[in-house]
Symmetry: C2
Subunit: 425 residues, 2 copies
């Protein structure tokens, strides 16, 4: 196995060695209470990519230890993967924590030699994607994630800060090449060409997939967003903000797993979340039961689509109104009384651009989950292949419309109205 | 004086110490021939920003030693400036040399401690701006600079190479913050707001300048290009490619002074050169004599505008046809026979975007040279303030049209036809 990079001190932790490691950190020791020997440690990760240990102290306090493994275990074989992703994850958390502290886990410690983060244990939370499959409603999540992206992106953009701070960040995250490579290949290229890594529900979707790979206009649009992804360093983005990177309880939301972080287009995070809400919508018939046909739940999802965009937009504009201390669109150029309106209209135009980006990136994220390498359990858990294929075909139709006819989607209402129209099967 | 950064070994060279320094480099020694004591050294720089020494060997060979000074001397006082600009200049040269070797000076050596570059001596060349003021014609220069920008930008973009190479470059040049700060302030902000650094031909242009600073639509357009400058890392750009950064003989062209280099929008280099050709056009009446009214020369300049864009465009497309090995718009997504046309049309659309960027950035560069801090000798050498002000007002009118009504300029022919129309005074 190729080991891309490990520090000489790197060693894989286990339930026996975790207490000694975190016991050496005074803050952690105080938090868990009692001697390290008294702590209970369980490994709860799936072991594909990271080790995840839950450590509990005697008095009920707990925390989570996440260590990167130097490979990704997929389909029985292993794919070497840089440990440095743990560093970028920790760097992202610490860059955005001042702005979105309540919406990420509390980070207690990052160890550069072990590529290991000690963080708050979210034992009451579940992965949003699981909740969406189960048909559960989380009244705050869409608004929270909208606010999250607004805050994390606004404050790391040139609207909020002197550009030098962004350039400092860019210099750091420009090294996160291995994970960006995954996105470039798996999101923007492979789905649109032949690749041994691609798969789809077959033979049901064979024709639809062939049609997609033959749709030159669609591919140019996808390539356009691939180019934007590589060129447009608007802000620090999470880079993988789908419903599997959001943990929820009834009232609480946390964004996790930002190892794909880099300076990129804000619309990429918006699109990841939107696209995965839409995938969930299209997957719902596959999760219908006699007790619940999921039609009401689909309505709820579309309400979340609207709440998500409205929350992002209004939060971003509100932050901008109060914190325009950066070099992009500087207020010092617009100081006459009437120019309040000028600024407002320029800001609205910028948000319109983000809206269009959200739809384009969202569509790319949807397509790759149906015809690319890594699929989503929203569809994979639908055991009846006929039903699954119908759900997937509808989602693909929506994604293709978003990419091919962007002019038809001028508002979030246009999107919401189109979603059921594309469920023709 | 604040010294931002100097290595402990940094010392300011002089004509006495240069021979010992370069004499220690075998390649240089062989090139100049004879013992270092026999070399003739002259300091020829203006001492404002860099020291420039010409060193001649006994047999007529020569080279140039350029050392950065830790300040910029302006208007009698001094402005501390990072020595690291010499590093970025050397890094830029070495990044683009494989692609534009014949169009930059040959670089023999860069010394990281002395912030000093040893390079080919261009003693037969003069600065293009000087030639334009003198009314001299250089048949190749526009085509050469067009080809230069095409090659330097194409090969450092994601069209030519795996994106990882661009990210490596971005990590390096993201540290060139002090020079990028100068551009952000002096090109995109100060001209459009009150600043002690601004000046203009007064009182002649007072009214025009007040009108410009009150033109909200124009300022939003300028701010839009300022944002693009900060966000759009398309390729490694020179960052200051005006007619003072080009050296010429009758048949030879060299691009110099790339210390503002960073990963940014390709249109920024295009606009710098175009904008300065247009400034030259508008300045010509100020250099007219009884023997030469410069009308014919103005025609020649407009021919160069066309040749420049045509050369850039055709070279960029030709390179793309042969070297599309990158991750942006990958050919592997467009392999069916009919998709040759698809790719061609997508590439043309990208070039149309660069054209629009060139006009916008060009206009910003023109405006800042008339109402901002650093002016150009094309105008400053016009001693009659009335004549100078008329020339400047015309150039400003053109720049404002380019920024405010981009829809009126769909081709380089549209630009060429508009130029004389704006010379109403």
């Amino acid at each position: 196995m190729r080991r891309v990079d490990t520090s000489p001190a790197y060693r894989i932790l286990d339930t026996d060695t975790v207490p000694a490691f975190i016991g050496s950190l005074p803050e952690i020791r105080a938090l868990l209470g009692g001697p390290p020997e008294s702590w209970l440690v369980h490994e709860v990760g799936d072991g594909n990519l990271n080790l995840v240990f839950i450590v509990r102290g005697l008095e009920g306090s707990s925390l989570c230890v996440k260590q990167a493994l130097p490979y990704l275990r997929v389909a029985g074989s292993s794919w070497p993967m840089t440990l440095e992703r743990a560093f970028f994850e920790a760097s992202y958390y610490s860059a955005v924590a001042p702005y979105v502290g309540g919406l990420i886990p509390t980070i207690y410690h990052y160890d550069r030699e072990l590529y290991c983060t000690v963080m708050e244990c979210l034992s009451a939370h579940i992965i949003l994607r699981q909740g969406l499959i189960a048909g559960r409603r989380y009244p705050n999540v869409a608004r929270d994630v909208g606010e999250y992206i607004a805050r994390a992106s606004f404050f790391t953009s040139d609207f909020a800060r002197p550009f030098e701070q962004k350039m400092d960040g860019i210099a750091v995250f420009a090294r996160n090449k291995e994970l960006v490579r995954i996105t470039v290949d798996l999101v923007f290229c492979d789905p649109y060409r032949s690749s041994a890594r691609n798969h789809h529900t077959s033979p049901h979707l064979d024709e639809v997939v062939a049609e997609l790979r033959g749709d030159s206009r669609l591919k140019v649009a996808a390539a356009h967003f691939g180019m934007k992804f590589l060129n447009e360093a608007q802000a620090l983005v999470h880079g993988d903000l789908h419903s599997g990177s959001v943990m929820v309880t009834e009232g609480n939301t946390r964004v996790i797993d930002p190892e794909f972080a880099f300076y990129g287009p804000i619309g990429f995070d918006l699109g990841a979340f939107l696209g995965n809400l839409l995938l969930s919508w299209y997957s719902q018939p596959g999760h219908a039961t006699e007790q619940d046909n999921r039609v009401g739940y689909q309505h709820w999802i579309l309400e979340q689509v609207e709440a998500f965009w409205d929350s992002f937009r209004s939060n971003f504009l509100a932050l901008w109104a109060e914190n325009a201390h950066g070099d992009a669109l500087p207020t010092s150029m617009f100081t006459r009384p009437t120019e309040t309106l000028t600024l407002e209209s320029a800001r609205n135009a910028f948000l319109d651009g983000l809206f269009a980006d959200m739809l384009g990136f969202g569509a790319c994220k949807m397509i790759r989950r149906i015809v690319g390498f890594a699929h989503v359990i929203d569809f994979d858990r639908i055991h009846d292949a006929d039903v699954r294929a119908r759900c997937e075909a509808n989602a693909l139709a929506m994604a293709r419309a978003l990419l091919s006819y962007p002019g038809q989607f001028c508002s979030i209402q246009d999107v919401i109205e189109a979603v059921p129209r594309m469920a023709r099967h």
